[in-house]
Symmetry: C2
Subunit: 344 residues, 2 copies
């Protein structure tokens, strides 16, 4: 942990007996340097342990090679995987990541965070926050005139935003259809909070499939959870209390499915014989639940990676004075069948 003043290009130049410009050329691997000079300078660089100051370079070039990422809900599997995907792709493309986490949906945070990111000259912002009604109104004001491209990680095409999103509706359809195909007839749903777009869309997918059955009022087959296992436990109890005819449940995430599994156990309901359960996310633990959970897998890392790609496209276009537009990039979910939904 010893200290030495940071070496600058100037000192390298003096030590090597060349101009700073030549050093600059060497560290940027420019072709117009004679082999000997390049060698000599490189030697001094290694010797002095010089490393260019990227801050200064950013200033003069007007490019920071930095992306801002706003995240939320780390601690859940999906958001974390997204972040991993973003980081990996960014690293490979030579971008650094300035990370901000939203603690809750306090609008004033949003303002501060984005301002901070922008004043640090990020070239773009990846908004890796689940969709939420409360948030949306605020966002639209904030980002309408954002000076950098923004990629959103959920489906809500308001302006001409770039959007990469998981096809939640499709996932919910897969889950519901699977249950029906297993011989279950009356599929209830435990949704996430109603102001979350992910929850809304998963419910829509479920409705689309259930409408084709002769079941009457779908609202009677629905309870609202808060994504937690606890709410899944309560949710199943409420659901069966108000609609005893239910013989299968689609839970909008794996944690709630886990809670439902527990509730069923506590009530002496046999799964999957008497009740089928399907979750959403495919968290790593899902295969080890009792019984193992059928669920919808989403490739969240890929989602993050695609977001970075979109950002790059946008940036590249911008540098050529063009504007990049793109339809929503959809990531397709996959059904993972395990024991919790297989009727003997």
């Amino acid at each position: 942990m010893a200290r030495q003043q940071k070496v600058t290009i100037k000192e390298v130049a003096k030590a090597a007996g060349v101009s700073t410009q030549t050093v600059s050329r060497v560290i940027n691997s420019r072709p117009d340097v004679s082999p000997e000079t390049q060698k000599k300078v490189q030697h001094v660089i290694d010797d002095l342990g010089y490393s260019p100051n990227v801050i200064a370079r950013s200033l003069v070039r007007g490019r920071s090679n930095t992306l801002g990422v706003v995240g939320y809900g780390l601690g859940y599997f999906g958001p974390t995987s997204i972040l991993k995907g973003i980081e990996k792709r960014s690293y490979n493309l030579g971008f650094s990541l300035l990370l901000s986490l939203l603690d809750d949906f306090d609008p004033s945070y949003i303002h501060t965070i984005t301002e901070n990111l922008l004043s640090r000259q990020v070239e773009g912002i990846i908004w890796a926050v689940p969709g939420n009604d409360r948030l949306a109104g605020n966002l639209s004001v904030r980002f309408k005139e954002a000076p950098v491209p923004i990629v959103f990680l959920n489906k809500s095409r308001r302006f001409n935003d770039l959007v990469v999103a998981l096809d939640n509706q499709d996932g919910a359809r897969l889950a519901t259809q699977h249950l029906l195909s297993q011989g279950y007839r009356c599929v209830g749903i435990i949704t996430g909070p109603s102001d979350w777009w992910e929850a809304q869309q998963r419910e829509v997918g479920w409705r689309q499939v259930m409408l084709d059955t002769e079941i009457g009022d779908l609202n009677k087959l629905k309870v609202v959870g808060d994504w937690s296992a606890h709410s899944g436990n309560i949710g199943l109890r409420d659901l069966l209390a108000k609609s005893p005819q239910i013989d299968a449940v689609f839970a909008s995430n794996d944690q709630m499915a886990l809670g439902a599994l527990q509730a069923a156990r506590q009530m002496g309901i046999k799964i999957p014989q008497e009740l089928g359960i399907v979750g959403f996310d495919d968290i790593p633990e899902a295969a080890y639940f009792y019984p193992a959970l059928t669920t919808i897998r989403q490739d969240a890392e890929e989602l993050g990676a695609q977001a970075v790609d979109q950002m790059c496209n946008s940036l590249q276009a911008r540098h050529q004075g063009e504007e990049y537009r793109s339809d929503v990039v959809w990531i397709k979910p996959e059904l993972i069948v395990r024991n919790s939904s297989i009727r003997a």
Copy 2:
């Protein structure tokens, strides 16, 4: 997503009819500005939507107000919580976070990543990577002469590093003692990979307690897992195969405990009556396992927060020309008792 050239201090100055220094004073809330001037300038700032370029400011001040964070193992609950803690505390203290993730322990990555962080002028680096033997040798070379303070998030005091760490030994002792106090006599262990310090220390804690019993060769009571639920399943089977007298198991993390729970179920072993199981981490799902898992809770967010505090102390001392030293900051774990270890 409209574009306008970024406003600089110069344009504000011109528009306000003052010099750039005056504007600089206003944006830095200096006292030596007359109220009217301040008001006038502020108005122009709001009007033009000016926001200072932090990059430029960093350059001239020689301080970036940025911390580098190197993470690993997001996707596991602990590391993610740590990151949350780091982010929150950093935000409150006015630091931005440059995030890098280690994908594996490839030493060349480590080099590139730290160099990148340093060339971006981070004021310090928080090394939020689990301890690993393979990594350690490489690190020592790398960081011996690091020009910025580094805070490590695990116990291995090599130089005069700043270290914030969970007391893994203590946690393991708590777990093992708890099992013994419940009347179990022969407590086996499913450890993590042996080159992980966390695994090593948890094993040490277990050994310390078990040495006090009259049990003979402790190595016969131990199997090695890889942190995954799958390895926990296999682990329990191996353990019981080689030492049938085992009546309780301490798994070094909750995922492996989950796998063990599953294996016990598959083998028809009743938990907790015939076999007690305790995990480590207290992941949110643990309370919903079947049966609910007794485990060791670690306050990982607090760990992250403390790491940032240590960094700040170090930075502050440095700015006053001093050197900050500190003993390891230990975060104490807590025993959470649930059904998997309660003998009727």
